[in-house]
Symmetry: C2
Subunit: 326 residues, 2 copies
C-alpha cells in the first residue's frame, strides 16, 4: 500500500462586492467581479489521503460520511488533480468546519479551497497558487478567493482569484450575526441559475456590479470606510433584490436579518463605522472598525432572533498543517 | 355669506398589480399600469365647505389643523375644481380616516378621492366620474382608483382609472396585518423619484410591470386564485426589489413584514388560498378566499410584531353622505 497525505486549513471569506451569477455554467466562471475579506476565525480543516487500497473517493464532513452531490463535487475536483498528477488512485477526504455548514456562511468557499490545496500537496504537485485557486474555482467560484488571506478579488470570467491587499493592510473586524443553524432551502448554485432565468433584474445586476466592485476596491485600497459602507451595502442589497424579483421569489432574508440591518443602520447614525453584507442565507455579516467591536457585538447580541455573534479579524492564506486536529 | 357643502365617503384601495414610478412628474401620470381592490372597511370621510367668509383654504385631518405640504396638495386640487366652476371661493376641508394615516395604508388614495368628489359635489358640477378620477389622480395616482368600487385599473400614463369588475364579481377578503402605527420615513412620491433616479433596476421594473398587470387582470377576470397569487406577489416583491437596489436603499420591510410573508407562504403550502401584497410601508395585505378568513386571521394575529389585523370585503364606489359623522 502507498499513501500520500496532506492536511490543509483554509478560511472562509465574505464578499464585500458580491458574486452572484455565472458567465459560463459548464466552466463555472463568474458573471460579475467580486471582492472579499478572508476571515481568521472561520476555518475548514481538510485531510486528503490518496490510497491504493481505495476503490472510490470517500468524503467525511464533520465526522459524517457523505454521498450524493457533496461527494460528487469533491470527486470531480479530486479527478482533476489526479489528471494533473497522471494517477488514478482514489482519496479519502476528512473535513471539519468550526462554523455552521451550508447555511450561507461560506463553508463551500473554505471547503473547496482546502480540498484543492490538500489534494495538490498530497500528490506533491508543484503548481502556482493561481492554478490551485482555479481548481477550487471550478468547484465553487467563491472558493477561489479562500486560497488567499486578506482582501481578495475574483474578476468577471476570471479563472483564479488574486490578492488585493494582505490582512494587515486594514485590520477591520467582521461580526457574523448567526440567525439560524439550519441549512438553507436553496443552494447558491441553484439560486443563481433561477435568478438568471427568471428575474427581470438579472441583466441590470450583471451590468451594474462592476461599478460597485470598482467602488469597493477603491475604498479598500484607500482604507476609506465611509466610501466602503454604501457600496458594500448596495452590492449586497442589489444581489438580494435580483432574487426577490425572481419567479417565484428567492427570499433569503428572515425577520432577524432585517432586524440586524436596522440595528447596523441605527449604529452608523450614532457614529459607529459599521456596514452590513448578506450572502445567500439569513445571517448578517457586519464589517466594523476595531474600536467599535465590543459595543457593536453587544448590540447585535441583543437583537431578537440573533443566536450568537462570531467575531473575526482578516485571515491568512490557506496553508498546510502537520496533523488533522481532533 | 354663501356656503356650498358636500360630504363624501371614499374607500382605500390596495393594488394587486403595483403602481410605482411616474411617466410624467408634472402631470402625475403613472409609469406602469396597476390594478387594485377597493376595501369596504378602510374609509375616509371628507366634508368640503366652500365659504365666502374664508380667506384661504383650510384643512383638518382627524381633528388636527394641517399646514405645509398636506394643505398645499389639498389646495391645489381645490384650485382645479374652482377653475372648472369659475369661482374663487376658498374651502374648509374636514377629513377623517378610520385607519392609520400616511403609513402605507393607502390613506392618500381614499383621501384625495374623497376630496375630489366632495369638492365637485359641493359646487354642483356635473362631471363624469372619469373626470373626477382624473382630478384625484393629479393629486395622488392611486386616488384615481378609489372613485370606483371593486376591482379597478389605472393604465400607464392614463388620466383616469376604470372599473375592471364590480365588488360582487369575486368576493375575496383582504386582511391587513398592521405592523406599525407610525408614519413612514419616506413618502411614496419621494420614494418613487429616488428609485427612478438611483436604482439600476428601475427600467426593468417599468418594462416588466405590464406583463404582471396583464397576468393579474386575467386572473381577476377569471376568478383564478392560483393564477393571481404568484403574479400579485411578484408584482409587490419586484416593486420592493427596485427600491432595495436604490442608492441608498429604500427598505420599507420590517422584521414583522417578513414574518407575515413567511406565515402566508406556509399557509399556502397547507392549502390555504392566500397571497400577500405590500405597499410602500411595513404592513402586509393578505388576499384570501372567504372560507379561510377566520383561520388565517388567527394565524396572522399570532405573528410576532403584528399589532392587529383589519379585515375587509371588496368595497363600493365613493359616494355622497348626508352628514359628516361624529
Amino acid at each position: 500500500m502507498t499513501e500520500q497525505r496532506a492536511v490543509v486549513r483554509a478560511h472562509a471569506n465574505i464578499a464585500l462586492a458580491k458574486y452572484w451569477g455565472k458567465a459560463d455554467i459548464a466552466r463555472n466562471l463568474p458573471a460579475v467581479p467580486s471582492l472579499s475579506l478572508t476571515l481568521e476565525n472561520m476555518r475548514t480543516t481538510t485531510e486528503v489521503s490518496f490510497s491504493s487500497e481505495l476503490t472510490a473517493d470517500e468524503l467525511e464532513l464533520g465526522g459524517a460520511p457523505q454521498g450524493g452531490k457533496p461527494l460528487a463535487r469533491a470527486a470531480k475536483l479530486l479527478g482533476e488533480v489526479r489528471a494533473l498528477a497522471g494517477i488514478r488512485t482514489f482519496a479519502r477526504v476528512r473535513s471539519h468546519n468550526d462554523f455552521p455548514t451550508a447555511s450561507g456562511l461560506a463553508s463551500s468557499a473554505s471547503g473547496f479551497a482546502a480540498l484543492a490545496l490538500a489534494a495538490v500537496h498530497a500528490l506533491d504537485l508543484s503548481l502556482p497558487i493561481e492554478r490551485v485557486s482555479a481548481l477550487a474555482r471550478a468547484a465553487s467560484a467563491s472558493a477561489a478567493r479562500s486560497l488567499f488571506g486578506g482582501y481578495v478579488e475574483l474578476g468577471a470570467s476570471a479563472e483564479s482569484a488574486a490578492r488585493v491587499a494582505p490582512p494587515e493592510h486594514w485590520p477591520l473586524r467582521m461580526l457574523v450575526a448567526v440567525t439560524s443553524e439550519a441549512a438553507k432551502d436553496t443552494g447558491s448554485t441553484d439560486g443563481m441559475q433561477h435568478t438568471a432565468l427568471t428575474s427581470p433584474y438579472y441583466p441590470a445586476w450583471v451590468a451594474d456590479a462592476p461599478r460597485l466592485f470598482a467602488e469597493v476596491k477603491a475604498a479598500v485600497l484607500a482604507k476609506d470606510f465611509e466610501r466602503l459602507a454604501p457600496a458594500a451595502e448596495q452590492s449586497a442589497l442589489a444581489m438580494h433584490a435580483s432574487m426577490l424579483a425572481a419567479s417565484p421569489a428567492l427570499v433569503y432574508f428572515r425577520p432577524a436579518t432585517l432586524a440586524v440591518i436596522e440595528a447596523v443602520r441605527a449604529a452608523r447614525k450614532r457614529g459607529v463605522a459599521a456596514c452590513f453584507t448578506i450572502d445567500a442565507g439569513p445571517h448578517v455579516k457586519v464589517l466594523v472598525e476595531p474600536q467599535h467591536v465590543a459595543a457593536l457585538k453587544q448590540t447585535l447580541e441583543g437583537v431578537e432572533g440573533v443566536l450568537r455573534v462570531l467575531e473575526s479579524a482578516p485571515g491568512p492564506d490557506a496553508a498546510l498543517l502537520r496533523e488533522f486536529p481532533r
